[in-house]
Symmetry: C2
Subunit: 196 residues, 2 copies
C-alpha cells in the first residue's frame, strides 16, 4: 500500500514521510503544480536526496486563480492557501488510500479542521494523517537528528510552497513586486538529505 | 535524550513508542500505578516483548480517590479518567523532557485540549507528543504491520488501563461488582511482540 504525502521539501513534510516509511509503508512524495512556474523543483531535489520517489501533481489554473482572488480580497494569504491545500488533498485522494501532509500542532496555515478531516476521509474513503501530535520544538529535535538542512532566504529558486505560484500570478495581475506586501521576505529551512 | 511514554500495552501507546524510537530517540515506557492493584503487569509484559525499557511510576492515593469521587458523582468515567491522565503527565514531566502518550485523533478519553497542552509544556518546560495526527484506521493499519496482538475480554489480569485500579477502589467503596455499571465489559487488543 502506497501513501501519498504532500511535499514541499521542508522538515515537516519530510518528517511525515519518514514516519510513515519507517512504520512500513511505501511513500510517494507529491508536489502540487499549476503550470505557472516550476516551483516543484526544490521539493524534487529534497525528495531525491532522501531517496524517496517524487511526483508532480498538476492542478487546474482555476484553483490558483480563485486562491489569488481570495488573497487579493482578504489582503492576507491564509484563506487562499487553505483553498489550495484542500484542493491538493482532494487530488491526492484520487490516487492514494493513505494521504499525509506535514501540518503540525502549532501550524495556522494550511490547516484543516477535525470536521473537515472526517468529511474528507468519508467522502473519499481514504485515511488522512498529519503531524498534529507534534509541536515545532519536537519536530525541530527529530528532524535535526535525521536531516541535513540549508537555511536560506526564501526565493523562486529554492521554495516549493504554494506561495510561489500564488506570487507569480499576483505579480502578473497586479504588477511586479505587488505580492511582496502579502508575502513578506522570510527565511526557510530546506532538507538536503540525511544527516551524516 | 530519553522520551517517556505513558504506556498501557495497547496498540496506540505502542505505536507512539515505536515512532519516537525509529526517529532516533531512546524511549522508556511508563505505567502509572497507585498501589491498589498491580495493573502495570500486562503493560510490562508487552513492553518486554517489544524490547523496550519499562518503568512503573507510583502515584499518590489521593489522585485515585479524587478520580473515583468524580466518577461516582458523574456516573460515567470520562472526567475522572482525564484527571488521572493529567496527573500521570505531570509526574512524567518531572523525569523526562519529551513526553508522549497514545492519544489519537478520534479518542474522546483521555484527551487533553490544545490550551492544556500549551500550559503543560510551558509550565514544565517539556515537549508533549501524541497520535493526534492519526485516526483509528491508520493506527490499525500501521500496528497490524508492526505487532502481534492478543484480542481478549478485558480483565484484571490483562489490562493496564487506569480503569483497573479505579474499578478496584469503586468496588471496595460501593461493594463488589458496583463498578460494572460504570465500566461495562469490553474487548481489548494487547500487543504481544513484533510481527513475525
Amino acid at each position: 500500500m502506497k501513501a501519498g504525502i504532500l511535499y514541499s521539501g521542508g522538515k515537516d513534510s519530510s518528517l511525515m514521510a519518514v514516519i510513515l516509511n519507517r512504520m512500513g509503508l511505501e511513500v510517494e512524495l507529491v508536489t502540487l503544480n499549476f503550470g505557472v512556474y516550476p516551483s516543484w523543483k526544490p521539493a524534487f531535489e529534497s525528495a531525491s536526496l532522501l531517496g524517496f520517489k517524487h511526483k508532480v501533481m498538476e492542478a487546474e489554473d482555476k484553483t490558483l486563480e480563485e486562491a489569488v482572488k481570495v488573497i487579493t480580497e482578504d489582503g492576507f494569504p491564509n484563506n487562499g492557501i487553505n483553498l489550495i491545500h484542500k484542493t491538493a488533498l482532494e487530488l491526492l485522494a484520487k490516487e492514494y488510500v493513505l494521504i499525509g501532509d506535514g501540518t503540525r500542532r502549532d501550524d495556522k496555515v494550511p490547516k484543516i479542521q477535525a470536521s473537515e478531516i472526517r468529511s474528507f476521509e468519508d467522502r473519499n474513503n481514504v485515511e488522512y494523517t498529519n503531524l498534529q501530535g507534534f509541536g515545532y520544538r519536537t519536530i525541530d529535535r527529530l528532524s535535526s537528528h535525521l536531516f541535513e538542512f540549508k537555511k536560506e532566504k526564501s526565493s523562486l529558486e529554492n521554495n516549493s510552497d504554494y506561495e510561489i505560484e500564488v506570487r507569480c500570478l499576483l505579480d502578473e495581475i497586479h504588477g511586479k513586486g505587488s505580492s511582496s506586501s502579502i508575502f513578506p521576505l522570510h527565511y526557510q529551512t530546506r532538507v538536503m538529505g540525511w544527516k551524516k
